[in-house]
Homo-oligomer: 187 residues x 4
Amino acid sequence: MREDVAMASVRTPDPNPGWLSEIALEETRSRVPILYVEGIPVRVDSHGRVEHVGLLLRGSATTGAMSRTFVSGRVTHGESVRDALLRNLEKDLGPTAFPQLPSSIVPFTVAEYFPLPGVAPLHDARQHAVALVYVVPVTGECNPRQDALELTWMTPQEVLSPLVLDEMEGGRGTLVRQALAYLGALD
Amino acid sequence: MREDVAMASVRTPDPNPGWLSEIALEETRSRVPILYVEGIPVRVDSHGRVEHVGLLLRGSATTGAMSRTFVSGRVTHGESVRDALLRNLEKDLGPTAFPQLPSSIVPFTVAEYFPLPGVAPLHDARQHAVALVYVVPVTGECNPRQDALELTWMTPQEVLSPLVLDEMEGGRGTLVRQALAYLGALD
Amino acid sequence: MREDVAMASVRTPDPNPGWLSEIALEETRSRVPILYVEGIPVRVDSHGRVEHVGLLLRGSATTGAMSRTFVSGRVTHGESVRDALLRNLEKDLGPTAFPQLPSSIVPFTVAEYFPLPGVAPLHDARQHAVALVYVVPVTGECNPRQDALELTWMTPQEVLSPLVLDEMEGGRGTLVRQALAYLGALD
Amino acid sequence: MREDVAMASVRTPDPNPGWLSEIALEETRSRVPILYVEGIPVRVDSHGRVEHVGLLLRGSATTGAMSRTFVSGRVTHGESVRDALLRNLEKDLGPTAFPQLPSSIVPFTVAEYFPLPGVAPLHDARQHAVALVYVVPVTGECNPRQDALELTWMTPQEVLSPLVLDEMEGGRGTLVRQALAYLGALD
């Protein structure tokens, strides 16, 4: 019998409802696609035109290799998409980023990550994940926490350089190009 | 020890990979939001204007009460959003419906169902579910299978009658109004 | 011979390029659909959820009747859609509204106004107009100028009351319901 | 005095209402942005995934140079966006193309063409034009008429080759990349 079930009736309330033990998360990842939200931080001018895109530079815990990524995280059980997006923005950008969350939760794209590389543009060795992806203007100061080492602001042109696109984790070079297309900033 | 794990090494290949035992599904539903796709079948004229909306009339197995709903189903592990949408359209509309799947997988809305009624417009007693919702023109003949008793084609005006909106399962009256707004058919 | 053509070679530079004389505008309106932008001002909470919608209350110069409308104006010759949207927001909401312009210029809906009432939900006696319609969060203080008498902030529920919907100019009750559907605020 | 005004009261009914004389069109183009619709024909598989994109190959009447473009045309006075889109698809693809018009008239992008090259990615020497751009699956046989010489079906990969992108009229290489991003077919 699994411990978390056996203990359910006696343990104190979970301080992080929706969070799972490593074992439960791994088991769940083998069973269903996991729902994520991703946010691409941008700086815009007074007309709403994108001036800079924020990419997180992250070091792999196992290989030490550096890769670039977006704000990203799971939607937990019982949590709304908006709550998950704001929680992950605050986790990755800090409390003073002042993100402007979208007024509609329709994402600009849906990203499908499969465990095996090569079957689709996007992959994630840990799981089959489906992410709702949003562009999020931020007006404040960003101070990445946790495992992200650095937030780099780049112009659309800099982001589109092959070097940067190649550094993006899990094939997200495709996603950032989709975002720039949506923003009318491909050229 | 759970049977499906114990048997995994000896049983023949799973004919429905991605499908879960009742126990595994129930356990998973308590852990993470479950990803769904929903399709709203429509008949359109040569200009793309919606003429009729297809609603499934379904009887509850437990209470016998009738309710109306859309094509709906889980995205299974390893399955793409497009595959899940087509599979569920064929399941609910039959093999001769000839649905025109959207060329972009950006949904017109994201529907969030919570287990408790009242906390949000949409609810699903079984689970926290998040659905990508699409409008799907169909040109062929629809022959609902499985537990759906009947597919009814209604004009937008008929769909918007309070009687029909109230019959819709889980609060989907809101969703169908969102769909008609998106289609420019609110009036 | 038209005066503005005769004078073109001698007059000083036009302070408002893109603006037309009344005669030229009326003639143009009889020839082609006129491109507009419309902005629906909203107040959102920290999660992006709409809390209030801003409607402009305007008195008709000819009949004295009151009607409600959005921020609205022509895109002038040579002007970008973003420039037109910002210019009209500043004209109707004043210089301290601090509108957050959309990062993508894809509108949430396209509104078609025809000169004759009854042929379509939207009409405009002056012209055939096609408007790109945006939802625009504003964070500052709004001080309507020009012919708008008052900006009223209403909850989505208040906006959806039949009384308010009926007061909306040119059939825009349909548009505001489309906006609330897009924002997930129909209920 | 202009002839078309003088003749208005005596001439027989206009067989093409909405069409303008060359002089009236040129004058109008100097006054307001002209509203266009554009359609990008695609072939999709049973899952809605784009397999081929249709590009029109057109010879310039003046220079003889070849260029590639989309289905494109003005929205005329009194004409709905849907009617304009279908009319132009039939004009450029012939009567047996069987285009599947979008069920929503929200375009996937808004394209702004300015008369001067260099100020924006898109330009049109004749005018300031604003186009609502749609992806349109076609299932029938296409027989271009009028000035288009040939319709070429290409895979997304072929379309994205620098050679093809450079051949596209008025900077539409940007537009076709936006379309492929929207369709999830950038890679």
